[in-house]
Symmetry: C2
Subunit: 434 residues, 2 copies
Amino acid sequence: MRRSRAFIPTTKEVPNDATLPSHQFLVRGGFINQQGAGLYNFLPLGKIVLEKIRTIVKEELDMAGCNEVQLSFVTPIGLWDRSGRADAMGKEMLRIQDRHQNDFVLSPTNEEAMVELVKNRVTSYKDLPLNLYQINTKFRDEARPRYGLLRGREFLMKDGYSFHASTEDMIREFDLMEETYKKIFTRLGLDFRVVQADSGAIGGEGSKEFHVLADSGEDTIIVCESCDYGANIETIFDNEEEVDALNEKTYEELQTKEISEKCSCGGNLSFKKGIEVGHIFQLGTKYSSALEANFSDENGKPRPFEMATFGIGVSRLVASVIEQNHDENGCIWTKETAPYTINIMVSNIKDETQMTLGEELYLKLLGENVEAMFDDRKERFGFKMKDAELIGFPYTVIIGKELDNGLVQVYDRKTQEKISVKTGDIYKHIMELI
Amino acid sequence: MRRSRAFIPTTKEVPNDATLPSHQFLVRGGFINQQGAGLYNFLPLGKIVLEKIRTIVKEELDMAGCNEVQLSFVTPIGLWDRSGRADAMGKEMLRIQDRHQNDFVLSPTNEEAMVELVKNRVTSYKDLPLNLYQINTKFRDEARPRYGLLRGREFLMKDGYSFHASTEDMIREFDLMEETYKKIFTRLGLDFRVVQADSGAIGGEGSKEFHVLADSGEDTIIVCESCDYGANIETIFDNEEEVDALNEKTYEELQTKEISEKCSCGGNLSFKKGIEVGHIFQLGTKYSSALEANFSDENGKPRPFEMATFGIGVSRLVASVIEQNHDENGCIWTKETAPYTINIMVSNIKDETQMTLGEELYLKLLGENVEAMFDDRKERFGFKMKDAELIGFPYTVIIGKELDNGLVQVYDRKTQEKISVKTGDIYKHIMELI
């Protein structure tokens, strides 16, 4: 992409309500902008990142044997009456009325619709297991939408639902999804932990959360330093006030607090702050029983499906990458999430030699399908450099004064190191980096 | 995909309200199911087709220099008050209230939001032109939702908006988009016509529609048999009653009607029935003036953007392909839209030789990234054949009794021809077909 032709409205202005780095830098870097309370638009750079994350989620789920579907976003209230959640979901579930005064909701989750879809269409144990998922818009009417993409009202979520003939098979799928989720978050380049969790309004027995570690995380988790044990503090402290008080504390404050429990492996436990980006639940027959969704077992007897459900906050992940990867100058995208891997910056676009090299390199990279941005704007070097740091391209190739000595610089956004490379070696150097 | 593990709930039952072939066959073939009036779920096969169409639309637009964004689906009513369309859009625009009694709408289109996005972010003629698009959910509260995906309430639409410093440049982009749309519909394998059209509620001066020719089309168009002239009859007949009367007529009835106009090229004009799948508008400054969205021209003078807008009915295209391509047995997908190109059908799965060849061929095709379905179900041959016709795979490889003579059959869904191929040649034969 030529920067002079791109729509990337970067700005110095910090939105009034933006307290978190991801909120500030995603708006300032021209990735998103606010349409209304808890409502965000994705601009070209933000849309690219969102689609990269969506693609990784889809690839790993498809490889694990899941089937993608897409349910309607507006769903009839009747679905929710039948499961008993019309009331239980409270005000977060936004009710709407169409022109004929029929009642609908903006889907906050889709257990009911998915059970209705499978009911009477999957009738035998022979057709099980089945794991259906969608990556689709959700709406939850948060009382206080805040933190940019982290607690918006409209968001993109991957929600998956599996159907089984036995509890054992459901648990097998639950474990498979845990492994699949780990692959997804690993590919995204995130430092994360899997922890024991409460099931909340979704219901069911066992549940696990996936937390991206970040000082700004809303949740407090306890993790073992020696094994892979981890738990949301909600599952450890019975007292709600104690949980709230811990969640109010900053990461630094938590480090001074002793933990009386001992991990069963004998390792030290410590507090971490986390952003919940995934949640998997063993549902059992809660929804299939309520909605009378049965299959015939080996003896021809009708039985309700054993179910599990699996969620990933896809648009929330865009912000989570930045909460974990940023500095005071802006975003630091991981390789798999960066909107463009290489930024080619011509220091002085009036210098024909600089521009010629820039153009050559840009076209060569495009030819190799390398995602390259070509900053060909007539702006000062310092301005363009700040802009590149704010956006957070992993690597910037600086074509400037050193070109007289046959050299260009390669700037690494993460390490902030700048190294000189001979112009003849730059293409090879880039291909090795990426 | 192994058919025994896929969720493709085909059925003989025709929905009560399904009068059109696409509605009947998409439901019967397990592509979609109805969630509520004008609300549809896409099941795995339907989702694959939808994504194939979305991908082609995106590829062609990106190649034409457009930038993809994603605006929030729920938008504040204030946007629509400012443009004056809060009233003009009527009851099709569904109004909703959040928990704080603030008013929002489910986006039926996004001119206002897009102008607000560009306003104050693109400030100079140097940053123009700009063409932003999204492929996103829309909602229109139709009084009588019907015809399955053709006139639903919630649907997937590509809506693009371009911004220019002059009328000339806007018209250049309008022409470029006409060419781009032609490329898209051609790649999809559709027989379509571009026609002069009314601008309706969107407003503006010039507009063109893209119609997929199909006897069941809701619109009546006039096309020249000798040149590329075409027009929606709305632009030709002043009398609304006459237009309605013509639209009521079937394709056959229209063929007996004489057309008094003569094409300027001297060619014969004839009536056709069409499904509107695209619409492009020259907007001028209607929205930019109303929303005070200006740029500085060469003399530093503020001027409202010249705009154009471009729509494609993405989910409607799924149905349009079938309205144009079907027979009494079911769907006939075009190569670019088929959910799977090759269907491998083992006639008797208890016959080890048949199954071995089926498995071998299936895995070999998967290895070459050929989209293959492997019908390994324990069902009668006739049942599986009917199922394949209903779904509409372009080619079915039948591994049956003829295997004893070293032959398999390849069935072409469109021509209904079945030819015998030596088992040793089948892989090569398939690769030549696709």
